[in-house]
Symmetry: C2
Subunit: 179 residues, 2 copies
Amino acid sequence: MQELNPDDEYQEQKKKSMTNVQLTQKQKELIERMGVFYERHGIPPMEGRIMSLLTVCDEPELTFDQIRELLVISKSATSSALNMLLLTQRVIYKTRPGDRKRYFTSNIVEWQESFTESFQKFFGVIKIMKEALNQRTPNTPEFNGQMAEFIEFIEYLSIEFPRLYSDWSNRKTNNNKNN
Amino acid sequence: MQELNPDDEYQEQKKKSMTNVQLTQKQKELIERMGVFYERHGIPPMEGRIMSLLTVCDEPELTFDQIRELLVISKSATSSALNMLLLTQRVIYKTRPGDRKRYFTSNIVEWQESFTESFQKFFGVIKIMKEALNQRTPNTPEFNGQMAEFIEFIEYLSIEFPRLYSDWSNRKTNNNKNN
DNA sequence: TTTTTGGTTCTGTATTTTCAGAACTTAAAA
DNA sequence: TTTTAAGTTCTGAAAATACAGAACCAAAAA
């Protein structure tokens, strides 16, 4: 084998860094299991697998090609799944200066921000629920009452929920102070 | 037209009660809109439509055949959608003495019971999350820390959440007492 | 300038889902 | 006993989804 000149070494380094990350058998297995877990929650299989990969893999920041290679899938599958995951805020990416690649990360690292938001989205039920309630006949007071209560409770939650979070994070920082 | 004998009258009555319920154009429209709303949340179209029907329709208790007729769908579609909705607890049914039919209702009338349960199911994320965290390399303390925090918060929620509900229902009954 | 990198978009196929329609089932009514 | 009511289950077709593979594209590197 020939001696490598500096450039070749650099290229070699780059090539290596692309396929550097490897998965153990156990990790592959866990990714599949998490995948079906996500699937059962209405997330498409490939998106579920990518989300799982990004929390299971030792390296939390993976590039497009690393994801493609680790999961052994096509570019198109990688592209569309990643774009959907970005759209639905389940994955984010960072860039690095002088590097064209994007480094994808599970949005678990920013769950604090995204959590409240996705809950807020869930609370969107009440909008259409209210509409349904408003058009209802007055002849079913019991049913209407239950609907109204449900709506009230969701509204209550949407107010109390952020407070619950801030309580928790306050408690956490206080604990840290005392230790 | 011939005079009806008592039996015919009874049959007539039964037939009528089967097709009695009607939907206004506005209601049909709302059902479709709610349907796509549910679809966007991962619920199959027909199940979404049935759920919507059961909250929009003036009559909150509908039979198999009323649902089938109001939505103009086949028996098989009605059957499988209803069974899935029963399985996932989104719809319940009541029976009536001396009546073989089942009367289906949106589980919104029992949301108090089913809400906490479905939240509990959501909290199931933490089980597989913990597994993922446990197998992680110790070389990514920041990422692992974020994961741990996320898990902690979900666990905190699963405890605080039921309390939030009981607080709300207490506040409600107190309000009613004072009024 | 040409080449490479990091993707996106298009085309087509295999799979899955979602129904309709008809045959079947089971308990009650006639 | 036969008939009816209230569904369930089976068969199959149409539509939607999930990909692979190849062509394409735009910016950066050579």
